[in-house]
């Protein structure tokens, strides 16, 4: 009902305007999407059969990351070593925006996940954790006899 008060073009126009403003100042609410919300930034999505978690954690040693699933709560723990050389008199640090140190992020998962089937891989600096949903919870087509 709310939407019907406005022609759909208004939304498109507002969206375009916002995008243009973002480009103009090279800044928009999500432009600092990485870093501001904590390291690593998380994206979560779901499919009918699984829950997919993407942690944007560039430059870490995947072997040193600890992923725990305890009572429906997924915890990602790790450390990012500083890649900068130890400062001496002859080096100058002009910009230092990248995160280093210990990190921990926690995601609460839906009730229907299967804690036994969790897979994780690390590729191009993104840690991808896939948690399957329980067979019994998946949508099923019921045949009419």
């Amino acid at each position: 009902m709310y939407r019907s008060l406005f022609p759909s073009d208004v939304f498109a126009e507002l969206d375009r305007l916002q995008r243009d403003m973002g480009t103009l100042f090279d800044y928009s609410p999500s432009i600092r999407g990485i870093g501001r919300g904590g390291y690593p930034a998380l994206n979560v999505g779901s499919t009918p059969t699984s829950v997919e978690i993407y942690a944007f954690a560039p430059g870490i040693d995947p072997a040193a990351v600890e992923i725990n699933l305890d009572r429906g709560v997924l915890t990602i723990d790790g450390e990012r070593k500083p890649s900068l050389p130890a400062g001496d008199e002859k080096t100058t640090l002009h910009l230092n925006e990248r995160f280093d140190g210990r990190f921990r992020r926690v995601v609460s998962l839906p009730d229907d996940i299967d804690p036994a089937s969790v897979t994780a891989d690390y590729r191009d600096g993104v840690l991808h954790v896939s948690v399957k949903r329980r067979e019994s919870a998946q949508p099923r087509r019921v045949e009419v006899q």
């Binding site: 090279d26 928009s28 900068l84 993104v126």
Partner: protein, 132 residues
């Protein structure tokens, strides 16, 4: 470790290459360290494979353009997104003493490392004093 050479474009063609309107993109966090022989830049570009990274030196500008390519299962609906755009873009102006011809870069685990050495004449030289 992937080694690559950034593509070189002369300043004259810079205008033509630019798209008419650029979409807003993520600003990757960077570290920039200078030592006596050059500058090293580190940029966080998680989710960017080597072939989606476009690193250019155009005139005195160093441009980083990259596209996220995540293998996402079919039919996934996003429920929470802190990374809500699929592009990274950031540009830097190089100073005169840097040598844009000798830029080298590598991309590993989502971290881009760019090395820009100083031009020969700008390198520190030790002058030996002759004793007669």
């Amino acid at each position: 470790m992937n080694d690559m050479t950034p593509s070189q474009t002369s300043a004259a063609t810079r205008e033509e290459n630019k798209p008419a309107r650029q979409d807003a993109a993520l600003l990757p966090p960077v570290d920039v360290v200078e030592d006596t022989t050059g500058i090293t830049l580190y940029a966080d570009l998680p989710g960017v494979p080597r072939d989606k990274l476009d690193l250019r030196v155009e005139g005195d500008q160093l441009n980083i353009e990259a596209e996220l390519a995540l293998p996402v299962p079919q039919g996934m609906t996003p429920s929470h997104a802190e990374v809500s755009r699929s592009r990274y873009r950031r540009a830097f102006t190089l100073s005169k003493e840097l040598d844009p011809e000798k830029v080298s870069a590598e991309l590993s685990h989502g971290v881009l490392r760019v090395r820009i050495p100083k031009a020969e004449h700008a390198q520190p030289r030790k002058i030996t004093v002759q004793v007669r």
